[in-house]
Symmetry: C2
């Protein structure tokens, strides 16, 4: 059977639904906000290679990757939202790169400006990481504009990298400290058809963890970084950069979460393209370990602040979570690639979890504020207290969104993720169209034996129904495969008013496989299908081994995880306990002009009046009942700062 093909983001145009709105914000606010911050901080000008000792804003080894991710996002955006200004800015940066690129093809604004002699000398110096992001940007620019200008610049760089790392081995190390080049080369191969790039990607995967001289703690004989970060000793830990074993033998999802997820993504790419079973089994092992033991309910996957690392199994602290926005996005990349090896709803479920929770939480509702690390529980008073005695970045995530970070990987990452969200919606395999995400959109689909148009009408994730309409030439044997979301216990699918699938019945000719309901188009009256995914408020509990969440529940409605914020709840949310049989309701409200569904329920809190002069006393407090309001987790920290909690105490029912 032929391989599954993702439908390119270009073929999917979003309407006025949830994601269409986010793409408007992205195109109207985020793309400019990030450019302006990058311009202010010198990142844009650095690309001109005009910085000299004594000037402000000394370039940093990873700045090119920030700019490149902005370029990639801008390229996607320009396709559907033409904008003279942004286009000019984008082309100008490409001019800088074109003019600054070394004869041999090398480009990195830091090294060309500050340390030309140290090119490819230190594997922790992010050169292949920045190169990879520039390649992804070039591919996006090519798809978006049709111009090969940027693409050709980057193929020249890729050719030089092949020479330095594979053909001639002139580089001082074998595998990069921070992965990214691996998956970027696959994209470059897809865009150019040049097999050498796919082979070079495989080379980087094969050689990693096999070279004794490749040790990430070859940190320039200790001269870099100038002021070692709190977690610098992590650089002495092979697991940190997935150096502890060759890719095929990696025992567990571990180390720096973004490096890990980018690496696992490229491992999936290569196992798919080369039919490498051993590599695929490693991917499955790492996938299961990450998603069944080391992931927050929001999708966050870096539980360990020190080293921005994946936590130990079931070690998922809430107040000191890290849950880096980039790691959630990177996990969606990994999921997408696993899906394209074997379509399974469990991968699309995780992409959805990141889309509506872990990744989206990194962006403010107005599109100009960002979280790098994401709290699952926040107590501003604790952050503020610690600010007096310690750099709180090392202890708790921020409770206020920032406009730019010193290490600003996350803002342009969420920019490009939202701008290309369309590529997560559809995939084809021969004459079957997989519908993985429910998004108000129209798309042109090429099947093996012809093409079709598909249109989704829905206000998902706020409403339960999705109308799907296919049209175009009728393709003999064409079928649609609809994801039945993992969170939904009782979906119903109807054709022309007749239920053809429900939790207790499936009509002839329909097949449910790996969480996808396959329906031949021939069975659809006028090509129309109605889906209904009931969305009651669900109290989720965590595996008993997750000690931080014992006795607590997290609220979900559909794919959206909710949280409590102090601003909506005038009582101690950490002392609050949800009643055993709460009456839940929901209503639609705006926050900063963005409409969303909020949840309401009943709970109890201890009466505090008689506690003023007591710290500990025999139990037996009296409770008072309260109604609480929960907001989507992605929408927190958009109003006045206050306490926040995802995991809420739940009245115990020990006979249960």
């Amino acid at each position: 059977m032929s391989k599954l093909t993702q439908v390119n983001w270009k073929e999917v145009s979003l309407g006025e639904g949830f994601w269409g709105q986010w793409q408007h914000t992205n195109a109207r606010a985020t793309v400019n906000a990030i450019y302006d911050r990058f311009h202010e901080t010198g990142r844009i000008d650095a690309m001109r290679l005009s910085w000299q000792e004594g000037m402000d804003n000394k370039p940093h080894i990873f700045w090119d990757s920030d700019v490149a991710k902005w370029m990639e996002g801008a390229a996607y955006i320009l396709y559907y939202h033409p904008d003279e200004e942004i286009s000019k800015k984008l082309e100008t940066v490409i001019d800088y790169i074109e003019q600054g690129q070394d004869e041999d093809g090398y480009f990195n604004s830091y090294f060309l400006t500050c340390e030309p002699v140290n090119r490819f000398n230190d594997r922790t110096a992010h050169e292949l990481y920045t190169a990879g992001h520039m390649m992804e940007a070039a591919v996006a620019h090519f798809y978006s504009t049709g111009s090969k200008r940027f693409l050709n610049i980057m193929t020249r760089f890729a050719d030089f990298i092949e020479k330095a790392f594979k053909l001639e081995g002139t580089a001082n190390y074998s595998a990069p400290g921070h992965q990214e080049i691996e998956l970027a080369l696959v994209r470059l191969w897809q865009a150019t058809g040049e097999d050498r790039y796919l082979e070079l990607s495989k080379h980087f995967i094969d050689i990693r963890g096999t070279q004794a001289h490749d040790r990430i703690f070859s940190v320039r004989n200790g001269t870099w970084p100038a002021s070692p970060p709190l977690n610098s000793q992590l650089l002495y830990n092979d697991t940190y950069a997935q150096d502890d074993a060759p890719a095929r033998e990696l025992p567990a999802a571990a180390g720096h979460a973004v490096r890990a997820m980018y690496f696992y993504s490229s491992m999936a790419d290569i196992s798919r393209e080369y039919g490498d079973k051993e590599l695929y089994e490693a991917c499955l092992r790492l996938w299961d370990d990450a998603t069944l033991r080391k992931m927050y309910v929001t999708g966050g996957v870096s539980a360990e602040r020190f080293g921005e690392a994946i936590g130990a199994a079931y070690m998922l602290p809430n107040q000191s979570s890290y849950a880096e926005t980039c790691a959630s996005i990177a996990m969606a990349f990994f999921a997408q690639r696993m899906f394209s090896i074997e379509p399974d709803a469990r991968y699309a479920d995780i992409i959805e979890r990141q889309m509506y929770n872990g990744a989206l939480a990194g962006l403010s509702l107005d599109g100009t504020g960002f979280f790098y690390d994401n709290a699952l529980q926040s107590v501003p008073a604790h952050n503020d207290f610690l600010k007096g005695v310690h750099d709180t970045r090392n202890l708790f995530p921020n409770y206020r969104r920032e406009r730019v970070f010193e290490c600003s990987c996350c803002p342009p990452n969420i920019l490009r993720f939202i701008a290309a969200i369309g590529e997560y919606v559809y995939a084809t395999q021969e004459d079957t169209l997989y519908i993985s995400q429910y998004v108000q959109s129209k798309a042109n689909i090429k099947l093996a034996s012809g093409s079709m148009q598909v249109e989704q009408t829905t206000n998902y994730p706020w409403t339960e129904t999705v109308q799907v309409q296919v049209g175009g030439e009728s393709v003999e044997g064409a079928a649609l495969a609809f994801r039945m979301p993992g969170w939904c216990t009782n979906p119903t699918v109807s054709i022309d008013g007749t239920v053809v699938y429900s939790s207790n019945a499936i009509a002839d000719g329909l097949v449910l496989k790996n969480g996808y309901l396959h329906i031949p188009v021939s069975l659809m009256t006028d090509g129309a299908v109605s889906l209904s995914f009931p969305m009651p408020v669900v109290e989720m509990e965590a595996n008993p081994l997750v000690m931080e969440s014992a006795g607590k529940v997290a609220l979900m409605r559909g794919p959206v995880v909710y949280c409590l914020e102090a601003v909506d709840n005038p009582f101690n949310i950490f002392d609050m306990t949800i009643l055993s049989q709460p009456e839940y309701s929901h209503s639609t409200h705006d926050i900063n002009g963005v409409p969303m569904v909020m949840l309401h329920g009943n709970a109890a809190v201890r009466i505090r009046d008689d506690w003023n002069q007591t710290l500990y006393r025999p139990s037996g407090s009296r409770y008072t009942h309260v109604s609480f309001t929960a907001v989507p987790y992605f929408a927190w920290a958009n109003r006045e700062p206050g306490e926040m909690a995802v995991w809420l105490q739940k009245e115990s029912n020990l006979s249960g």
Copy 2:
């Protein structure tokens, strides 16, 4: 009315009860274990001032304080447990100090050996801190042996300090970075009768926080410490060393907990001796803030690991607690001094809390292992995981006791605390004898108008009854004042079989004041009194503002706080929930040969079989009932390592 006087530890000889056993362990094991470690690490030899560049074990600025606290403890121990060997070791160290003391009286083994030119140059360099501990050791040696040899050495040093810091101001700073000299000078005054020492103590308290040039971050122009500790930036925070305001204006209990408690102790001393109301009000304010908002149920008072600092109000994390052993001991010092200004059971209650919990937890049952910081909750797997990626000392307390620490203040502190435990039992005011702690013991008491012997017969804290017998010359108007423990809701006091005090009745001639029941000796048949303090298992809850303990209870029986250890409970203790109406029982068992009362109760845990491939799912798990065993908190980590918890989930009763 004349001032209250503590009865010196010398007058109180412990029998075979709880503390008598601990003093045996102290005299048999601890005093030798600490000496041996200090000898191995070079601390003892350092006192000979023979160290030279190139040798191992370079002296450290605070080593003298470690040795001095051992000397103090050894001095107490020798009084009741004569031992040639220990006596010889003690006298030998005194010889070293005598021989090494500078003509002007100065002594610090680090500065005399390594940096003679930097004497009294840097207030963060602990010279007055080490001096203070040597003075306390000298006073103990004088009381214990009657010899003034060591005392005279230290008065010479005190005289030089007076000259350098008060009379001539030749020192480079005004107030020490780490307090201790202040309370030591008061002890020196008590032992010598030399008022200048009391006045010098007052001088250090008055000047602190008033001198602009006194800023703790005058860290030798940044040359020390060579490798800044994680929390070095704390040195830039005035609050860290109680420099943020003059003593009388200190707004809250804050900063490095040991510095704070030592300082508050000396503030209480001075307010008492000078009748300084403003200083006393500051003490009351700091006392209330520390004990009503910033103290663990065990008595631990440093909640903030970074800076070994007192936490924010109600910020009491369990797994990342610090709760330094020294801070608990220091809080007992503070309580003792507050008590001697105005006798109140609330002070003796805190001393008791530290005696049986916060302080005692720092010592292993065999007397040779120690905790510096004390966990309220421990997950060895988390410590071990983080060891791979980070120095866990900065994140969680150890789960194994150690034999010595680089900064080894706690081991000799618990040594001297236990060795002098007798001084917390009795105090006199005119002809009233205050009995604050219930300890199997005999004591000789001098009252204003005569003397008496008092004997306590009890197996407290394991049993509920205490027999008190007074004898000796009959003193007209003599009275005993018995503490009614704050944890006890229904004490009964009987004379000759007749109840003279209970929760609902008090006999004529008896008075209850500030938690003390005053009974004229004339009303005691043959001078005998029987006390009964019922000790049911009590579930304590924390103030609702302590978010970490919401929905949880801590078990206490009498003054002893309990915890669960994995070794006794073959299930997930963090998922365990105590039933709403548990049947509690208790039984006596040994751990490493030490008998103690253990508690047993009923709870439920979630059934795990069906969770293997699930991380999150809709709530509704089934539970299975279990019986649990709790051990005294002080006794944890004496068997195979495992998970531990003080705060336990409790079945909610929201109507309650």
